[in-house]
């Protein structure tokens, strides 16, 4: 009994610590770096969703950049063509990408492993050309500029945003908005993973045959995972559009999809807290590697070498490491004396 109370207390403490870090983090970095943190938050949301699909359901997706494009363009199109306020488009962007994710999930029913990775990769590579082709809605190669075409709809344009009588700079606003949504998304993902749906996902991942024999509808489980994952990617895409105030085909190349998968795997498949580290990895490593040398190509070289090293040394990613470090603590808490 006392053990359980101690466990609950620890969880509460952890939750409070996370909230404190969330609220106070911008105070310790410059305004400019707050923007980088907000950008990392976009990655965080996208890879939490991707982890639900790849880490928990076992479906490899190299096409999540394209789902982010669906979200980003939904936001941009609603702001520019329909004059919506940018932040109110976020839910709709999530829904739109969720529907597209569901549709991608349909072909995925016939494919597994590497073949699914190839099919989703094809989708990611085709996206920029498609965005250029249907220029009426997407602005073609120029993209859509939120700031120039619909300046009144961009929140925080005047430099400050007033929320509940409390004003913050635009960068702080973007940080709190992104990571606020990120924390909610994390909580939802955590509830999904802990619940019935999460068990279904893991059963599909571990053995499709065994899952089917246990009465799980494989098609429904996989398409559900794709749709949920799509919602996360769409919300992330919408936030990216709001942060950069422009969307164009170059913001959503296949490199973005690769980056997201790298973040998920480095963070740790099947580990939600690891996604914070995964997001920071893909946000900051390219910048950090310019410190090694700013010569052409060196940052990419360092980035690639880091991915290979992590895969060889930590095949379970940072999440696996976290779990191993926390193991002595958690086993003591949950084992009866």
């Amino acid at each position: 009994m006392r053990q359980r109370a101690l466990g609950t207390a620890l969880w509460l403490l952890l939750a409070v610590a996370v909230l404190v870090v969330y609220v106070l983090a911008p105070r310790f970095v410059s305004d400019f770096h707050t923007r980088d943190l907000a950008h990392a938050g976009v990655f965080f949301i996208a890879i939490v969703g991707l982890n639900l699909l790849t880490g928990y359901t076992g479906q490899i997706s190299l096409g999540h950049g394209a789902l982010m494009a669906v979200g980003g363009y939904t936001t941009a199109a609603l702001v520019v063509h329909e004059h919506w306020r940018d932040v109110w488009t976020i839910p709709l962007a999530g829904v739109a990408a969720g529907i597209v994710g569901f549709l991608i999930g349909l072909p995925a029913l016939r494919l597994s492993g590497l073949y699914l990775a190839l099919a989703t990769f094809a989708f990611a590579v085709a996206m920029p050309s498609l965005l250029k082709k249907f220029s009426g809605l997407t602005g073609g190669g120029q993209g859509l500029r939120l700031l120039e075409q619909a300046p009144l709809q961009v929140t925080g344009l005047s430099g400050t945003v007033t929320l509940f009588g409390h004003s913050t700079s635009q960068n702080h606003f973007l940080y709190y908005l992104t990571w606020g949504i990120g924390l909610v998304g994390f909580l939802i993902a955590w509830l999904i993973v802990r619940g019935r749906l999460g068990r279904t996902f893991r059963a599909v991942r571990d053995s499709e045959v065994a899952a089917a024999s246990a009465g799980i509808d494989l098609a429904r489980a996989k398409t559900t995972a794709f749709a949920i994952s799509g919602v996360y990617a769409g919300v992330a895409g919408a936030l990216l559009a709001i942060q950069s105030e422009i969307v164009n085909p170059l913001s959503f190349t296949f490199l973005l999809s690769i980056l997201l998968l790298v973040g998920t795997v480095v963070g740790g498949l099947g580990s939600l807290p690891g996604m914070v580290l995964g997001a920071l990895f893909i946000q900051y490593l390219p910048d950090l590697s310019t410190h090694v040398s700013t010569a052409q190509g060196v940052p990419d070289f360092v980035f690639g070498a880091a991915i290979i090293l992590v895969m060889i040394l930590l095949p379970m990613g940072a999440g696996g490491l976290l779990r191993r470090l926390a193991e002595p603590l958690t086993t003591r808490l949950y084992t009866r004396p």
Binding site: L114, A119, A122, V125, S129, A295, Q296, G297, M311, P315
Partner: protein, 300 residues
């Protein structure tokens, strides 16, 4: 309308399609080689081929003739490919598919970064391997370059087939791919066979790169990225585990894309890549084993 249809143009476009298909075929066979031995798709294959092409450019730049540089580059690429396998693939040999895929994605960045580091970003060009003079076959003018490209790429694949079919080493590496355990018991050094596969794949990729570059007015470090995608599409069309399928698949794809690009205005040149990607999706959906692939079945 039908009378005005230009059969000469059709024949020319088919040969042009076969020529680009031939270049993709060599890279596609390289993908198949690695898929059969390692069980993964090597996302860095195109970048490795690009790196080889830059080595060839340096050799030509230092005064070698195209064909001397061609041969030397193939040898260097073979060693480089085998060395890459030893260095980064061997440690993850027994890891899940996704881990190995991530390593090849990491290689993509490493090789691309290294090429941009070692060679400045200016655009450069390779001399033409064949004369661009047209020759007349049955009243239709074909370019020697297109025909030569088809011949060299098919020749390279054919040599590789001879190696696998008729040498003891080829037999051993096929055995290692089909049944690693039994081969190990029979004395085949399975792990080294993987290195051999990676070396051969890198050499084939080098051929593909060195045939791609001269056809372009100029090239840079992104040279092979579209080629890799067409090779993916062709290999999937033919069946990822069949080398013959990869050749037939890429040739078909080359002709298909070239004809669609020529005769369907809506597709033109900008939608050529999406057509290839649609082929990937279509094949994976309706016949995942491709035209020549084996149906995989396993006991639960």
């Amino acid at each position: 309308m039908l009378l005005a249809f230009d059969w000469t143009q059709l024949a020319q476009q088919i040969v042009i399609g076969l020529a680009s298909g031939g270049v993709w075929a060599t890279l596609a066979v390289a993908l198949v080689l690695i898929y059969r031995s390692t069980g993964v798709v090597n996302f860095a294959q195109g970048e490795m081929a690009m790196f080889s092409t830059f080595i060839a450019w340096s050799l030509v730049h230092h005064g070698l003739s195209y064909w001397a540089a061609f041969a030397l580059t193939i040898a260097i690429s073979f060693l480089g490919g085998a060395a890459i396998e030893r260095a980064v693939i061997r440690p993850v040999e027994r890891a899940p598919v996704l881990t190995v895929v991530m390593v090849t994605l990491g290689l993509f960045f490493v090789v691309n970064g290294a090429a941009r580091w070692l060679w400045t970003p200016e655009t450069r060009s390779l001399p033409n391997a064949f004369s661009t003079r047209p020759i007349d076959v049955a009243g239709v003018a074909f370019s020697i370059q297109d025909l030569g490209t088809i011949a060299v790429s098919l020749g390279a694949v054919f040599l590789l087939w001879l190696f696998f079919r008729f040498t003891k080493l080829g037999l051993a590496s096929r055995a290692a791919a089909v049944n690693p355990e039994a081969s190990r018991l029979l004395g085949v050094r399975v792990s080294w066979m993987l290195a051999l596969g990676w070396g051969l794949a890198a050499a084939l990729g080098a051929v593909s790169g060195m045939l791609t570059a001269p056809a372009l007015a100029s090239f840079d470090q992104n040279l092979m990225q579209p080629v890799l995608l067409y090779a993916f599409a062709g290999a999937v069309l033919g069946g990822l585990d069949s080398a013959l399928g990869a050749v037939v698949g890429t040739m078909l794809l080359g002709v298909l894309i070239n004809l669609l690009g020529t005769y369907v205005d809506w597709i033109g040149t900008e939608l050529r890549l999406p057509v290839a990607l649609a082929v990937i999706l279509g094949v994976l959906l309706f016949k995942p084993t491709g035209l020549f692939g084996r149906v995989s079945a396993w006991r639960v």
